[in-house]
């Protein structure tokens, strides 16, 4: 089998420097927004005492979930010993680290007291799944870092599968933990479901792979490297399976809720837009289901579209946007729905908006902070492929899979 | 060309030399004590040198005891430090170099965030609280005289 060489990119072109400049501008905007929010206090944002986690958290959770799933390609190569994916693995590992850094940056910068990050890393309440998440994120850096080292270092290559296995188990625990942040909350109707943890795992597979495919296609295209149809077809089918799996989990989640009479108000809120939930209902049906699941499935599995890169790109973009919509519906819709404190009673008056659907309108600093996280992840990718040998020189059909059947 | 180089060397030496002298004179000279208002009491709860070396440890220790165990003894309480060291209703606030805490903290460039939450001057007590505490004190005193028939023993409230 022809050895596939991983080579750094030149990284001198105007296009590359322009990309760095653009991402740098977004990062500066995000830092400025974070300073503005922290200096004035959160009253300048759209978040309030009713919607405590807003758009920054939508982005942050999306990036963190995608980070875990982006390692999938590497895991398939090491844990499930699929040689086909081995040259794709280092890029996958770096992408997962980059996305996690971006997500965590947004999360930390939105804290009320980001200057207390050291406190967050040294005072632990081990009953809190949030505290466990902090340990899991740090561990993820460690495990994936070691895994990446073993992948790239000739002398350590033999141990890659052990590191890969450890990283695989760790990220399953990590994503379970991220889902459990919501699943363990007893107070809110939309959250208290054990399903949220495995749903987050399957979401991570879908979002992570979509981002990976886009990064792979873009980096190969912009460095004039050959990316053969065989790779495209394989990754395409894999993405299709994950998108379908996410849709399955969403269906089961809502079906379960529909069987519980005491959850009917929440289901009507999300599915039908009652009680002021129109925006969430729209985001759910149009954003999450149609654009985020059904259209991508059609684009991926349409007969004859197997090699078409345009449909695959479109599908990936839609999966990402649908994923953001899904996070928005879950995180913000789940908070907007009023707490059910007085069953059988109607709240006539309250100065603290009891019984009322909470209002939320994202403000510019929040949007810029969220986008900054994405920019950080992408700039880490852009710099990594220059500094490290991550991209295979070529992934044309004969190189990627010498045994493929040409059709 | 050689003259220019020599001139450059001389200038650099002059700059470095004067910098060295300035810095050493600053470190060798006495650090002037900040100009702050006179504290209320006779003396502090511990000798000045001990306080300078470890007041933060005392405050840190006390805050956890107060917060988690409800121990509200006066000696290491931040509120009591402020009560003594900062005049009531002063216009000098934390951040001015004349405020008791920020005077040294600015000079030593040690950031503290206590006063993001804590009052930096004493005396801001709402009327409702003053009235309630006065009534409580009267009641507790009355209760003491009623039970023991002797002078009321000190309780946490009246101290």
């Amino acid at each position: 089998m022809k050895t596939i060489r991983l080579k750094e990119i030149e990284g001198n072109s105007l296009g590359y420097l322009g990309l760095l400049a653009l991402l740098g501008a977004f990062i500066l905007a995000a830092l400025g927004s974070s300073y503005y929010m922290e200096h004035n206090g959160h009253w300048v944002t759209g978040m309030n005492n009713q919607i405590v986690w807003g758009l920054p958290h939508v982005f942050a959770v999306f990036l963190i979930v995608a980070a875990s799933g982006a390692l999938n390609v590497a895991s398939i190569s090491s844990v499930f010993d699929k040689k086909f994916y081995k040259p794709l693995a280092p890029l996958s590992a770096v992408l997962s680290l980059a996305l996690l850094i971006g997500g965590l940056m947004v999360l930390v910068l939105d804290l009320g007291r980001p200057d207390r990050l050291i406190i967050a890393m040294t005072y632990y309440n081990f009953k809190s799944i949030f505290a466990w998440n902090m340990i899991l994120y740090n561990g993820f850096f460690l495990f994936t870092g070691v895994y990446l080292w073993f992948m790239l270092d000739r002398t350590m290559k033999g141990y890659t599968k052990y590191a890969g296995f450890a990283a695989f188990i760790w990220r399953l625990i990590l994503t379970t933990g991220t889902g459990a942040i919501f699943g363990f909350i007893v107070a809110r109707t939309g959250y208290n479901m054990a399903m949220l943890a495995p749903m987050f795992i399957i979401m991570s597979f879908s979002f992570g792979l979509a981002i990976y495919i886009l990064v792979l296609m873009a980096s190969f295209k912009w460095t004039d490297r050959a990316l053969g149809d065989v790779v495209i077809i394989r990754l395409r089918k894999l993405l299709g399976v994950f998108v379908a799996a996410v849709l399955y989990f969403v269906v089961v989640y809502h079906l379960t809720n529909l069987y519980m009479t005491n959850h009917h108000d929440y289901e009507a809120f999300i599915l039908l837009g009652t009680q002021g939930g129109e925006s969430y209902s729209r985001m759910f049906w149009i954003g999450q289901i149609i654009l985020g699941s059904l259209v991508p499935l059609a684009l991926i599995f349409a007969p004859g579209a197997g090699k078409c890169r345009m449909t695959l790109t479109a599908a990936c973009v839609l999966v990402i946007l649908g994923g953001l919509a899904q996070m928005y519906v879950l995180i913000i819709g789940g908070q907007a729905f009023p707490l059910e404190m007085f069953p059988g009673m109607e709240v006539l008056e309250s100065t603290f908006f009891d019984g009322a659907t909470a209002q939320y309108a994202p403000t510019l600093p929040e949007v810029l902070l969220g986008l900054g996280g994405v920019a950080v992840a992408m700039i880490i990718m852009a710099l990594s492929i220059k500094v490290l040998g991550l991209l295979p020189e070529s992934l044309d059909d004969t190189t990627a899979d010498p045994h493929h059947k040409a059709d | 060309m050689l003259q220019l180089q020599q001139l450059m060397h001389k200038t650099i030496l002059a700059i470095l030399g004067s910098a060295f002298l300035t810095l050493s004179s600053v470190t060798l000279a006495d650090i002037s004590m900040p100009d702050v208002a006179k504290p209320k009491g006779e003396k502090c709860v511990a000798p000045t040198d001990e306080m300078r070396a470890s007041h933060f440890e005392k405050i840190l220790h006390q805050r956890d005891k107060t917060m988690h165990q409800g121990i509200r003894t006066k000696p290491h309480s931040l509120k009591e430090c402020i009560n003594c060291h900062v005049p009531e209703n002063t216009t000098v606030r934390f951040g001015d170099d004349k405020h008791f805490c920020s005077a040294c903290h600015i000079q030593t460039a040690v950031n503290i965030d206590c006063f993001q939450c804590h009052a930096d001057r004493p005396g801001n007590i709402p009327e409702i609280h003053k009235k309630a505490m006065a009534a409580l004190e009267t009641n507790l005193k009355a209760e003491d005289t009623a039970t023991t028939g002797t002078e009321p023993s000190a309780t946490g409230a009246t101290q």
């Binding site: 009713q50 005072y123 | 409580l136």
Partner: protein, 247 residues
Amino acid sequence: MKEMTVNFSRRHFFEKSATAVAGLSIAPGVFLSQVAQAKPADQAVTIEKRWGMLIDAAKCATGCNDCVTACHEENGVTSHGRPETDAQWIRKVKLRDKATNHVISLPMMCQHCETAPCVYVCPTGASFKRADGIVLVDKHICIGCRYCMMACPYKARSFVHETVTDQVEYSPRGKGTVESCTLCVHRVDEGGTPACVEACNKAEHGAMIFGDLKDPNSAISIELEKHGGKQIRADLKLNTGVRYQGI
């Protein structure tokens, strides 16, 4: 510092007068505002006491806001004219029973649960329950993540959305941290009662009783035994320290 000695005769006097106090349940002001023994300042709180409140929604006057005004004045909680982000440690809620059209009002604040979700979820342990049952935020280690606000079934917590200056000296509060009703812990530790309860008694509504739930002779325990008391969202089994009648 003077030695604190426990005076046994004083304790016995208090036990006898507690029964008398219970009988004076309509009398306003002074007697009801002093149901607690002052704890010596150097003594740690213990699990021997559990502070709680009993609120009778039937006695709560619909248009009255005295408890809210008192609490916010006592603790220096200022309004900025932005109801969505302004902190509220206690609020009045007016409710209508959909089946019977009966209208009631009640004050809503931190319920000081025994198994408080906010305490479970806090990553740093800043949200904690004191031995005597009062749930507090240790703002020294609060990082402002707002997870406790997500987890609270009663929406009891507020996030401080702006810079705070001129704090009340016994009620530190600052930007970027989370806060909620402290059961006026600064008053309780000195033998007093929460400002809201005191204000309600002053207005002669007497809808709120404060006391030690573990003391069978306290006014609150006697009233609970006589007329019962419900928890809001009792199905969550949080064993709240604040109970309600008439809901």
